[in-house]
Symmetry: C2
Subunit: 368 residues, 2 copies
């Protein structure tokens, strides 16, 4: 099931405040979805994420298909039960990972043959197979199997990816059965405006309950991404949620919302944490640096999260230097909270009609 | 400060139920103290440990002296504040680690010269220096600097360790000033009864508020350890707490309590967790083993901890195989809970005069 209501739209930009109702509860949009690649948001328990107000997470079909396998997850009663997550889950289609992580063997209209990045075993994914996997995982939102062209790529490559993405979207729609799971289409087209138009038109005809803007954040300049988002705005149905895949940094969340995006996901808050980096309202800081050795202030003195209320930069740096796992855990908590809380502030600003002022104030301090 | 009241003693064995009052709250004994070597009980937050009912943890002076250094901890306001721990802490003296971890350079009555296991830097620890460090760390209980002879060792080696331990205990007592910190003596003597008698007599004369039984769990057979504990019982003052350092496994906790021990610490619950091993009422299981791949039952169906209430062996095995940090975190939680909860059951059994029956029932199922 999926219901989406736009509650407030802005007169000065494309931002909208909405409410997404899914099988495991309501989610206010715009929303940031933390990534739980292997059926865990790295180092976090579900309770940590509930405490932050996370209502939907992303899990990766490619990884779960390879390990532990969708059959095992189905035997456990589905992904929610397997990982003890009581709120919503979105699964991607695995397409992006097949192209970026695996040894790609052969791609045709039929599907993709590839070798596992874990053990080199051979696999063949088709739209039908991906739908079977995603339905067995049982997320609340499933994504269509798509082909994501790299950046940069030729017009011809991008065009073929658009054609195949439409073909595969039709086949996904054909075999998708679970009524408690919403199936989203993914628009491709790389940086070519006419291909974006074509992809959007073909997918909108298929009437999906939501649309992802795929093929961005793959190496193109940020300005190019923002430009395409603006261009996409009138091409997608206003009454359906829009999801910008794999994005992003705090600045991207704000710029994306201003351009009409409702949903985001990104591994950065968890990945940066593993490298000892934390978000603050002034920008990112590398907590492992010697300059913080005797800094007894919190990561961010404006943050009210569990970590900032209880731990100093000096302690966190010590944990990092001592290679203590608690460092990953605490930095992850803070980083995810930072983005989730940023989205809450963005929603509040939209509600108050103050998003532009909020954005200006944010960027006055935040350096990237 | 330290107050110790023995509330219940057993007529059939040496077990006693007590209450230890320290600067950061009361602790019921016998008690298991989780180890937070580097100012963190690996992967756990203080809240996790409060939730389990942990009232006192151990931290390692040797590690904290080398990194981040006692001066930094003092600047942070002491160890409690540095690591955000609001209950009690015991610091060991570093003696054991100097002998086991570092490159030992020279030992004399004056002190120990050694090289750091981290960066090879040279250090010289004396009883006076250790007291300075422990007072800067500011734990609720500090241990005297002692010499721990290895197992096996000659009578002469063990005798010298006893002599030096007494000499150093006197010097520690001489310079120890903090009234909010209780200083414990450590009895040595290896497996030689007359040396144990001598060490105990010399230290009891110094009238410490508590005594540790050191030099055990260093490789000797379990039966030998139990034998020495029995032998030690009448040698130590009945009205003071007794701490068996570096012990132990579930069976050792029960056997130790029966022989009069009030306090235990051990790295095993956290270390085993890192290796994918978990305690159950039937013994240890290696959760990473393939036999648990489709086992959707909890680690221990008799355990009511957070992990056993929410996660299956199959999910935990998946996390281990996928090298997810959450595996360490959840297994650590369970293992620490298992020992903390075992101690709670032991205390209840002492209170009810049922410790022998409890022990028989425990060992009927628990295999080691």
């Amino acid at each position: 099931m999926l219901k989406f209501e736009v509650q407030v739209t802005s007169s000065r930009n494309q931002a909208r405040l909405g409410r997404l109702t899914l099988s495991h509860g309501e989610v206010e949009t715009p929303v940031f979805m933390p990534v739980g690649t292997q059926a865990t948001v790295k180092t976090m328990t579900p309770e940590d994420l509930y405490e932050m107000g996370v209502g939907v997470i992303l899990a990766n079909t490619y990884h779960l298909y390879l390990r532990p396998g969708e059959e095992l997850v189905a035997k456990a009663g589905g992904l929610h039960k397997f990982m003890n997550w009581k709120r919503n889950i979105l699964t991607d289609s695995g397409g992006f990972q097949v192209f970026s992580l695996s040894k790609l063997r052969k791609i045709s209209d039929e599907g993709v043959e590839f070798q596992s990045h874990i053990d080199g075993s051979r696999h063949f994914l088709t739209p039908e197979k991906v739908m079977d996997i995603e339905q067995k995982l049982g997320a609340d939102i499933a994504m269509c199997f798509d082909e994501c062209a790299p950046y940069p790529c030729s017009y011809e490559e991008a065009e073929q990816a658009v054609e195949r993405t439409t073909l595969w979207a039709k086949r996904c729609r054909e075999v998708h059965r679970r009524e408690d799971q919403a199936l989203f289409g993914i628009v491709q087209g790389n940086v070519f405006p006419d291909l974006r138009v074509r992809s959007a038109e073909e997918l909108v005809k298929l009437d999906f309950p939501g649309y992802a803007i795929g093929g961005l954040s793959v190496g193109e300049p940020k300005e190019k991404m923002y430009e395409i988002l603006e261009f996409m705005h009138p091409l997608l149905p206003a009454n359906k949620p829009r999801y910008l895949m794999g994005v992003g940094e705090p600045e991207d969340l704000i710029e994306g919302v201003i351009r009409g995006v409702d949903m985001f996901d990104c591994v950065l808050p968890t990945r940066l944490a593993r490298h000892g980096t934390a978000y603050t309202h002034k920008g990112k800081i590398t907590v492992r640096n010697a300059v913080y050795a005797e800094d007894f202030s919190p990561i961010d003195d404006r943050c009210d999260c569990y970590v900032c209320r209880n731990y100093s930069r000096a302690y966190l740096r010590h944990l990092i230097k001592a290679e203590e796992i608690l460092a990953h855990r605490l930095l992850t908590y803070h980083n995810v909270y930072f983005l989730v809380n940023l989205m809450a502030k963005i929603r509040e600003a939209i509600r108050e009609g103050e998003l532009e002022r909020f954005s200006q104030e944010f960027f006055r301090e935040y350096k990237y």
